[in-house]
Assembly symmetry: D3
Homo-oligomer: 293 residues x 6
């Protein structure tokens, strides 16, 4: 269960409205790596967890905080839109260069659809979607996904910080940046703890029998381009992070197989094939080929 308190975790009031910036800020609310994504992602990972205890509690504990960040951003964006212009035409743009810039830079649906309100979309107006969420049931994979989400998220907030001089906005972003710092650290630590405990290990998933993979190529770097510098990296020689092999470097593939012949499906699917199908034109029955049983 979730309970709401009509308070924010931190100040979220701009010095002044700014419809252009309101649109930019939508990215970290409703974008691929925005707050809706992490809130939902941690929730779904918790609900899919097969382990009671500290990892699931961690997911629940952070997930609820992120829903509060959704709210902080939403409240901020609504305030940034408070003076969103009504006039939206070539004549309006021509009459006032600043208004012209605002018309170009704002999200037009902020005005037309939401009446100067925030929306569950990214900075290009693409609606948030469930396919941004990763929740596989495997915690080492998912915590790596979470670390990535927090890195991408902090990166976007850092960019947005430099896109405005508004002190109120920057104050809120400085708080979100700090929380992203925490969460980056936290997921990386939790991923490490999973490995230290032996609960999960590299390569993910650890329980798939290595004998069933084609081990000859498990640590080969196969270079399919013509730049040679990648041979200099520690991914091309030396021990592997999973502790189970040694990297080696190869130009191009070390294996190959002939291309299988083209398929010959049922002629009643009317694909183009080598010799024209023979169909009884009166009845539609295919005369000389076997159909699927």
């Amino acid at each position: 269960m979730f309970f709401h308190r009509q308070e924010l975790q931190f100040d979220a009031t701009p010095d002044k409205p700014d419809a252009i910036y309101a649109r930019r800020l939508q990215e970290v609310l409703g974008g691929q790596y925005g707050e809706i994504t992490v809130a939902m992602q941690y929730g779904f990972q918790a609900w899919n967890s097969h382990l009671p205890g500290k990892y699931r509690d961690l997911l629940y504990g952070i997930g609820a905080e992120e829903f509060g960040h959704v709210e902080m951003l939403a409240i901020m964006i609504a305030q940034l839109l408070e003076k969103a212009p009504v006039e939206q035409s070539e004549a309006a743009a021509a009459s006032d260069p600043v208004l012209g810039a605002v018309l170009g830079g704002m999200d037009v649906q902020h005005a037309i659809v939401a009446g100067a309100g925030v929306r569950p979309v990214d900075s290009n107006g693409n609606p948030w979607q469930g396919s941004y969420v990763t929740a596989s049931g495997n915690l080492l994979a998912d915590f790596t996904a979470n670390a990535n989400a927090e890195m991408q998220g902090r990166l976007q907030v850092a960019r947005l910080y430099n896109m405005t001089d508004d002190h109120g906005v920057r104050k809120m972003l400085s708080f979100l940046l700090a929380r992203d710092t925490m969460h980056q650290n936290q997921w990386l630590r939790a991923a490490a703890e999973l490995r230290e405990e032996g609960t999960e290990d590299l390569p993910v998933p650890m329980n798939f029998p290595l004998s069933q993979e084609h081990r000859e190529v498990s640590y080969q770097y196969l270079n399919f381009s013509d730049g040679a510098a990648a041979a200099e990296g520690s991914w091309a020689s030396g021990p592997t992070p999973d502790g189970k092999g040694e990297f080696s470097y190869h130009e191009g593939p070390t294996t190959s197989a002939p291309m299988p012949p083209p398929t010959q499906p049922d002629p009643r699917l009317f694909g183009t094939d080598p010799k024209p199908n023979i169909v009884d034109k009166a009845t539609g029955v295919v005369k000389d080929k076997l159909s699927h049983k």
Copy 2:
């Protein structure tokens, strides 16, 4: 530039057709973490790279291999579909229980749209989309994204391995599993090398001045749920992975702010507000409120 060779990197021929399994296999071709995603992701990261040399060469070198994996899966799926049934009705299902199961378990667009052909979609028929790709320009964030993609990908291939007994399919999957093992290791190693060299560091992005984030909360675990076990993890006390702080544990928020008052946008946006707008009904001009300038 890309050049194509009419050969595969490894055998990709099933023992026998299997339309149900063909649909399942679409996930690792055209799903969120399928081969199209990693091929495109490494390409876009290379094209967006600001660094010449080993990291970019690595992206190019693996990216082109992944396009070949797209082809291996596509060729395999087309062969699995070679006996996809034409009959697709209740009467057909009723006449033959196995056919009934196939009708339920296959992707119907494989037959209707592609004539027993492979499609750029996932196992539920959702088209692949560009929003699966992450390419931020920040290599530590992006290599973490890549490590996650390879973990999720290997996890899905491992699941799919157990979903069939077909030796031809399993042989190909054993090869892809090994390559995923390599690529997991490789991205993790490359991420570590970035940090070891000082090219990038935690928290990502390392160049955003820490003095500008609200440092008081940068290492606080704030528990917004009521499970206490998360306090036991090494993410709740002790040193942080970025080497710049100490974790601490707190029940709930350590900061708060009042909810700002509701916004009052231009009345010509016709939102509902405290006292009804006063609009001159003859002219449509708003009489007593200021519109946006």
Copy 3:
């Protein structure tokens, strides 16, 4: 069957082209609550209707009018785009502030994709989609959806009316506003008539046996936030609109249940679980857990 007449229901010619406004107007053509939505929605509701007679005739009668509104908007938008600029670069924008504003404010696909033509998208360029349509087979639910669609639609048209001074555009919008007034009234009246006749009733669907719902909480307002003012509304005490109960007000939930334990699916799905799976590494067979039968 549908028949087309090369005439419009009302004037749809702007005083002058305006590419910025053309983009805005796309919202009420191809947006969530645009004319394509209502035209298709009334069509699908008619085709799904289980009742011959006045309700189905109403759906057919309005639906066809709405297809004509799609056309009016399309014709208007194409005319607004007649002078859409070809020049679309920083140099062009720098040479002429008004052109710069137009470049920012117009839909770039209007020029690049449609050659100064209208498109089946909203004002942010999101393609219209079938998921905007509601057609459930239950007329009271669907007429409520229709009333909402007409309200949202009229609201957006009213906003758009104030976004331009073009008399030709305003003339057409004044017509659409009037038709939206009609359709709002019409769907609300039709919804009321369904209840008056006893064809359908609250709560929708009326035929689900109330004895099978958990009646104890059917009229309780449970406040999951900490604002107390909602207790003042007529939704917190007094008779309910369905005529079958009395509202009551409660702080928080009146029921609760413990969280069920985490799930334990088949270990071959490689989720992370309490003790590591035991898999025979040579064969891949799971040794000590039961798989699904």
Copy 4:
């Protein structure tokens, strides 16, 4: 801010796993009218509210409850998936008719992507999307949207109730049905209260000056189909719900306008037009037509 409690509002445990039904239940979690939609919708309406007090408190109060319903459904679906099959091929389906039916009826991504876990998608595997949310800033329009959402939602839950005999599932659904009954009543009451108070009125938005709409057609039913029965309804004669007019009935349109001539955009957009463009083939300059200024 949101706080999470590791308890549910009501029992959410099935008698036994059922992967087919798990997929069906996704509809009311992640579908157009599922719990994610209403939770987000009430949140965005609250954040966009221009009115402090009872209406906003109502939105916050119900919104947080709905996030708890998201969790109840997620937990239930994860349990229904606990025995989701690993085997997913034609051979598996052929070996066991019941398994064959499960393979056809389940969501394959439940197994492959989520490892027997719940996902933020509908019953066809379409990801939830932000465009399901309505939050216009106009409360009468939005409360009508909410009433519709609760009606469609209760309708779907009622259908799902009859699709299973599992007592645990039915028990949870009986609770959700009761809450939907409450919320249908509540939004209808709140909409009525807005009108009774004069805060908002029909036609929505009430403040758009009626003198600016083309009043001649504001209450005309124009029948664009050839079924005559719609003339019998109370939407074709008598007083209108907005109290401002009388319905009248007409066969076809009461107005018409000629189709405007085709547009002639800049020839450098290369549309096909009446006489071929004259372009200087050496320079690409259009010689005899004016380009946009």
Copy 5:
């Protein structure tokens, strides 16, 4: 304007319900090449037409017919769903093999969302979308798009014809097949007429000055794969369809250019670059690199 008549163009009644086939048939209603696509596409092409007269009349004339085909399919699908099962669980599937097959093969949203009704989606439940529509303003390009749409459409209908034995369904499909035959022929003829008249020509668009394209490579077949058989086709030697050149055959590219150096954007975008950015950690000001003006 569009007018509706409560009659169909042809019989659209199945011999008996068939929920599995109903789902399949959705493809040619709401899929990429279904009737909604062609109806909307011809409409948008007409509205975007710059030419009065025969071509525009043709678009209007066929477009309205296609809306009637949308209706025929919708009515047919609703009837095929008339006995769609309510029971949808593993227990139901286990109790009756035929029901199990239906549960797997039907579109579950047909029952849950539409109450045994038709929906604006394809056979995998993907909603129809505006991006299926092509309307570029260039008639030769668009008529080629239309010819393709009618070919793909007739192909899908032909496949669907063989997927059922229902005489009522086949009767309707035989009619649609004939109309697709007509429309294939019609668009090909119209495309030819455009060229014969000189209204448009190859290469599309004909008015782009050929002197401005890099003519050296305009008729070269560059083989980027290693299969040599393509040299045998009439596209590798001989005159070109546009009448302006001769095909020639080449192994690989005939031109090349070095890869440009990596980009160096503003360091405040925090991409990873060769030497770490130097940012004043106290102020956030970048010290030694130029930012954008």
Copy 6:
């Protein structure tokens, strides 16, 4: 397999950065008819081909070239973004009219998400999607799709050519225009060769027995609009392109059928029907109607 070479097929360097134009250019990279579409489309058609030899080699040969065009555009766009502004607010726009224009005209995700990098999206920021790909297994249909794609693509590139004066950009576009000229010619020639050889013919698919279509209407132009000029075209009289009939012209439909009665599905789906369902309110059992077996 695909191999990458760190060289481009042609120069792809702009004279100077231009963030506005970078956004426009995304259309031909990641749009419906951009290079990703054709690269993937030719790949999927090759993988789905049932014919070895020249047609499949042609698909492979061109497909790999198109992946190289994806790279050329990506590299060009990244360079155009090299000076993308960091400042993105109303204050920034107000301080500098040119910057204001750039803020309006650029893709904001280029800066926020990709750090001045290219993305797999179109010019409105819609992610590329797999549903843009056509690969039906029928080569005549698919080559027609390819001809259309190359026509639409060349049309868009021609428009984009006139949208900039940058010599570097124009140079690259002149190369792409020439290649589009080649590919238009090539697919049209290949389509003709299929017919000349008898491998496939009109109407597509040629093997569906014409006796099974309703031949009476196979060559009738049925005019569903009121413009008479379409009768003048060669599609309204004279021989048909398939060589199997004669066109004829008719006003409106030549056939008709009564609308079937509304459907009556199971009452437990709670649709609204003529007389209210009779459900035992205590048990939920429907008393007087038959449910589905």
